[in-house]
């Protein structure tokens, strides 16, 4: 079914490289790259395929190959739209193969991707939503304790940044050292400031794939910060990331009627 689609796309030269999932060890899946149509049999696509592959679209060595085909779950399509809205990919440069019920659909234009995302989909982040509510119900002191505790194990490996499709800056703020705005060290201040900075830079851009939490080697629930801000921005400004191929970013736009309740 979708393996035939892949074979066709590669065989006809509609894409120069296909990015998807393949069987790995221990019953898991991993990302797979190929430019050869005869390797289309290696691809799989099922509930295990949660990794957001859009992150690979940002890599210069992959962009240089030409047209990219990508086996896409919902988060991947959203990420592609968000990247499009930020002028990182051009219309038609990426062809996404998505599953709709049991059909494979070829999303080769941004318009088709927008339509796909607009359809109702099963919510994937219920557990995260519950945890966010749990934290919001804690007292301020307990919240501080919770986060300093969780963030103390951060080792500043930046797996969260590397796995995120939205973190594509070739020189991240933390890598700039004149001035060293965010401490490089993984002491408590360095960790706190890194994660606060990252949450702010992703606010309203995060597509909710949860890759950051999955990538973290020490299991810090980082995605809760971005998910919470996503909900807040949706409530306050009505803007949601990953839905349009045109820019609609909360922090670079404003309305004169914006309301807040804390300015004196």
């Amino acid at each position: 079914m979708f393996k035939e689609k892949i074979e066709k796309l590669l065989g006809e030269g509609k894409v120069n490289i296909m990015i998807g999932y393949t069987e790995s060890t221990g019953g898991q899946v991993r990302v797979f790259f190929t430019g050869l149509s005869q390797e289309s049999n290696e691809f799989v696509f099922d509930d295990r395929c949660v990794q957001n592959l859009a992150v690979y679209v940002n890599k210069p060595e992959i962009k240089a190959i030409g047209k990219i085909g990508i086996v896409a779950n919902l988060s991947t399509v959203k990420a592609l739209l968000q990247l499009a809205s930020e002028s990182q990919i051009k219309d038609g440069q990426v062809i996404a193969l998505a599953m709709n019920e049991n059909n494979v659909i070829e999303l080769d234009t941004f318009a088709k991707m927008e339509e796909f995302v607009a359809n109702p989909h099963k919510s994937a982040n219920d557990e995260a939503t519950k945890k966010i509510q749990e934290i919001l119900n804690m007292s301020r002191e307990k919240r501080w304790e919770y986060w300093t505790n969780e963030l103390s194990s951060c080792i500043k490996c930046y797996a969260c940044r590397s796995a995120c499709p939205m973190c594509y800056c070739t020189q991240c703020t933390v890598d700039c050292n004149q001035p060293q705005w965010i401490p490089v060290a993984s002491h408590h201040q360095g960790n706190m400031e890194w994660h606060i900075l990252r949450a702010m830079h992703l606010a309203g851009r995060c597509v909710g794939c949860g890759e950051c939490s999955r990538a973290c080697p020490v299991d810090i629930p980082i995605s809760l910060l971005s998910f919470m801000l996503n909900d807040h921005i949706k409530d306050e400004f009505g803007q949601v990331a990953g839905t349009k191929a045109t820019l609609d970013y909360a922090l670079s736009s404003f309305k004169v009627e914006d309301k807040e309740n804390f300015m004196r």
Binding site: K142, W147, I182, M200, L225, L251, R264
Partner: protein, 153 residues
């Protein structure tokens, strides 16, 4: 007799409205608390959110962020962008457990000298009640030593 706690307040203000307003407070001889240090920016839109955390890390107990009223920004829309930024940043700080009661956001125009004086006095009184803010400043010394506190993970 023990000394009363005198908080350190850092304020980030825009040049055209609040800074001018503070200047007016001065020329009008409005009396207000001297706990405050004023940092001048061209516009509230220029104020990086991390600066607030840097202020806490350097020992500030309270912060004031103030600029032009909406529609009065010298650069037309800087304060509109700033307003959105603070809506998001404040929520994030609150979620993490940083005390947002210690950060006061306001609009103070160039004509509101009296308001500035009153605002500073109110903030100083509030922070005096809350006490010194050590939670955030402590972070830079946690996780590297003294040796007994090194994190072995």
């Amino acid at each position: 007799m023990s000394e009363e706690f005198e908080p350190k307040i850092i304020s980030f203000v825009c040049n055209w409205c609040t800074y001018a307003g503070a200047d007016l407070a001065g020329t009008s001889r409005v009396k207000y608390a001297s706990n405050i240090r004023i940092i001048r920016f061209p516009c509230t839109g220029r104020i990086d959110f991390m600066l607030l955390l840097k202020a806490f890390a350097s020992g500030a107990d309270g912060i004031i962020v103030s600029g032009c009223h909406p529609n009065d920004c010298h650069y037309t829309s800087g304060n509109f962008h700033a307003r959105r930024r603070w809506v998001v940043f404040r929520k994030l700080l609150d979620f993490i457990g940083i005390d947002t009661k210690r950060i006061c956001f306001s609009w103070v125009s160039a004509a509101e000298g009296a308001k500035w004086g009153q605002l500073v006095n109110e903030v100083v009184a509030d922070i005096k009640k809350l006490g010194p803010y050590e939670d955030y400043a402590k972070l830079s010394e946690m996780g590297i030593g003294p040796i007994e506190e090194e994190v072995y993970v």
